[in-house]
Amino acid sequence: MTIALPAAHAPAPKRHMLVATTAASAVVAMLMAGMLAIWLRFRAAAPVRESSDGLKLIKDWLPENLHIPEVAANTMFSTFFIGCVMAQWAVYAAKRRDTAHVNLALAVCFIIGAAIINAQIAIYLQFDVGIADGAYQTMFYAITGTMIVLVVLGMVFTAVALFRSIGGRGTSTDVFSSHALYWYAITAIFTAVWFVVYVQK
């Protein structure tokens, strides 16, 4: 020190991980917002035609006899919210230094992530159209595949938080709050994806 400013007290702990997770959540939100915008642009530009049975008008980019398994899609949608509850439970338990419940909540949250991926695979298997069959199909696989990557990232985050807790480094709630924030973010993002891709198509 060459210039004598008064010395400060030790700084209070700052929530680096929470702020960084907020930024990362903004990144994934903008990523999916951009993809949804392009989806909507294609959809808006597509002409309208009669369905093969002549009973209704459909956007021309939807394949004939398209069948998206709505039960699996809606189950996946609700499963995201259960994941949020588990993530928040981990925060609640961590604040009370209840390690057993932190571990249980995070383990269930991890399983929830696996269930979401399972539901998405079920949709792919029942979808019965190929990725190269047309514009809609290509974009459907691209946007839902990206969503699955975000869920996998969430599961990795869950696993890291769980291992930290098991390893006895769960005294700070920062990592659990950040983990919960990420799950909230991807749940909000999937809500938009579910509405645009699975409901409005």
């Binding site: 680096h16 960084a20 290509t138």
Partner: protein
């Protein structure tokens, strides 16, 4: 650890040759894996400097091609889009984007009184992700990939490389924003953050919001290119979906920190405090509207035809997306000049570089607003390339000012003022010559993204020859600056701890700054904490 000798040469090899080799490897490994923010920032800075030279050289090639297209073309007609896209990639994603991110990583923790960068490993990952992304793009375009490329595998490699580049820039931006938001010195609330650090936060957040949209488009293009090639047109349609990321307003996002640099340096040059400081912060924030403009992937033109309602509607959007960033930059520049008026001015190389660089950026921003006025008839002309060059080269000039300013704090040695100052003039001449002829050629309807085979009234060869010379002169000025900086930082005059009579916390630690930046943390009582404790500081109301 006191039980371990951490000296690099302590246990390495027995002979002189092996010792040198081992020391070299240790140094390389240290640079590759260091979590010291100053080293990470310098990595970005060095690689970006090389990119600026490459941009100038490619600019010369583009200019030569435009002059001699009919007689001795070196680029086939089918490869024009690839070559232009490569030129723009080098300009925007090698020379421009990482430059000030690197400077921010190196300097911002020092400015805000932090002992370290938040999430340094993420920043390190950002550097290498960006670097390998750049390498993939260069290799793929050279091998026939890139937009309109003929080889599908290399087109895929191009898309992956571009995505990695964007991921790297995002990963490097997050630690910058996080550091400013969480690691400020005691007493430094957000209104007391130094103006450069503020602009770094605004720029980093703008990157975080705009670059993921590019990655989203690249994911679609990748899947389309690998499978159906029907939705986006495969390689031929690639450029149509990503060209917005290589032009304005996305480039303005990368220039925000350069404008912040001037607001930092001007009060120091005048040995005063920044007057009307909150308005400077608002001005820097206004420029970030460019990020919103970028993610809409539209130029937001102002149309003079149509009904009154249509004209007003387009005017509002044009004004919001094009005029507000210009207004923000103008406010920052004007208040920097006001700072000069209120203090005792000492003209130095960092200030000259920053002032001229921001002046060039401002000309580019004004050109961007004009470009989007449709009745000017500039859409689809080379005018856009002139705007891009003004912004990129202006930012690189400001970057040279930043290296002159903070170099002593990072390396501990000064750059020689008398040798550096003329380079600012040379870079200015290069920038104006490389850009302004394309403004004129744009009005004469020289088409954009064309490398010759165009005809229009007027001396087209003259404009393109001038631009070619300009790119060459600019590349020379960057080469000369890098050589001078390399020599000075190795054997230049030893810098004092506060060589510029600075205002902010980085000048309160030793030069070069130690690994943990500060021996002890200080309490900050104003936006210019060092001005508080220096004798006979002129007081200006904030």
């Amino acid at each position: 650890m006191t039980t371990i000798d951490t000296h690099a040469g302590a246990s390495l090899g027995s002979g002189d040759g092996s010792l040198v080799r081992s020391s070299f490897l240790v140094a390389v490994a240290d640079w590759l894996t260091s979590s010291d923010h100053k080293k990470i920032g310098r990595l970005f800075l060095t690689l970006s400097g090389i990119g600026a030279i490459a941009a100038g050289v490619l600019g010369v090639l583009v200019g030569l091609e435009r002059i001699t297209a009919d007689s001795s073309s070196i680029i086939s007609a089918g490869a024009e889009t690839q070559f232009i896209s490569m030129f723009r990639f080098v300009l925007v994603y090698i020379a421009l984007a990482p430059l000030f991110i690197g400077i921010a990583i190196a300097v911002v923790p020092l400015q805000v009184g932090a002992r370290a960068l938040s999430l340094p490993r993420l920043a390190q990952f950002g550097v290498w992700s960006w670097f390998f992304g750049v390498a993939l793009v260069v290799i793929s375009v050279s091998a026939g990939g890139g937009p309109t490329g003929s080889d599908q595998n290399f087109v895929t490699m191009y898309l992956l490389g571009l995505a990695l580049t964007a991921v790297g820039l995002i990963a490097a931006s997050i630690p910058v924003a996080t550091t400013i938001l969480t690691s400020r010195a005691p007493g430094m609330d957000m209104m007391r953050v130094p103006t450069f650090a503020w602009s770094a936060m605004v720029g980093a957040i703008s990157n975080i919001l705009s670059l993921p949209v590019l990655i989203g488009a690249l994911i679609y293009l990748y899947v389309d290119n690998e499978h159906a090639s029907v939705a986006f047109g495969g390689a031929d349609g690639t450029w149509d979906w990503i060209d917005w990321a290589f032009t304005q307003p996305q480039t303005i996002v990368f220039a925000i920190m350069a404008i912040g640099l001037l607001t930092e340096i001007a009060p120091v040059a005048a040995r005063t405090r920044q007057p009307l400081r909150p308005i400077v912060l608002v001005g820097l924030g206004l420029i970030s509207i460019a990020a919103l403009g970028a993610v809409t992937q539209s130029q937001h033109p102002w149309r003079w035809d149509g009904s009154a309602g249509d004209v007003i509607k387009s005017l509002i959007l044009w004004g919001f997306f094009n005029v507000l960033p210009l207004l923000g930059a103008f406010v920052a520049l004007a208040l920097s000049l006001l700072a000069l008026k209120t203090g005792k001015v000492r003209i130095n190389a960092p200030f000259v570089f920053a002032f001229l660089g921001v002046g060039m950026i401002l000309v580019g921003l004004a050109g961007k607003a004009l470009y989007c006025f449709l009745d000017a008839g500039l859409a689809g002309t080379v005018f856009d390339e002139g705007v891009l060059t003004y912004i990129v080269y202006g930012t690189v000039m400001a970057g040279m000012g930043a290296v002159s300013y903070w170099g002593p704090k990072l390396w501990g040695r000064m750059l020689p003022e008398k040798k550096v100052l003329p380079l600012a003039g040379l870079a200015l001449i290069g920038t104006v010559l490389a850009s302004f002829p394309y403004y004129i050629a744009g009005f004469a309807d020289q088409p954009a993204n064309a490398l010759g085979r165009f005809e229009y009234e007027g001396p087209s060869e003259l404009w393109n020859a001038l631009a070619t010379i300009g790119h060459g002169v600019f590349a020379l000025s960057v080469i000369a600056f890098i050589l001078l900086a390399a020599k000075s930082f190795r054997s230049g005059d030893v810098a004092g701890d506060d060589p510029w009579d600075g205002n902010t916390l980085e000048w309160a630690t030793s030069s070069p700054a130690p690994i943990n930046n500060f021996v002890e943390l200080s309490v900050v009582g104003s936006p210019e904490p060092l001005r508080d404790v220096k004798p006979s500081s002129p007081e200006v109301s904030a």
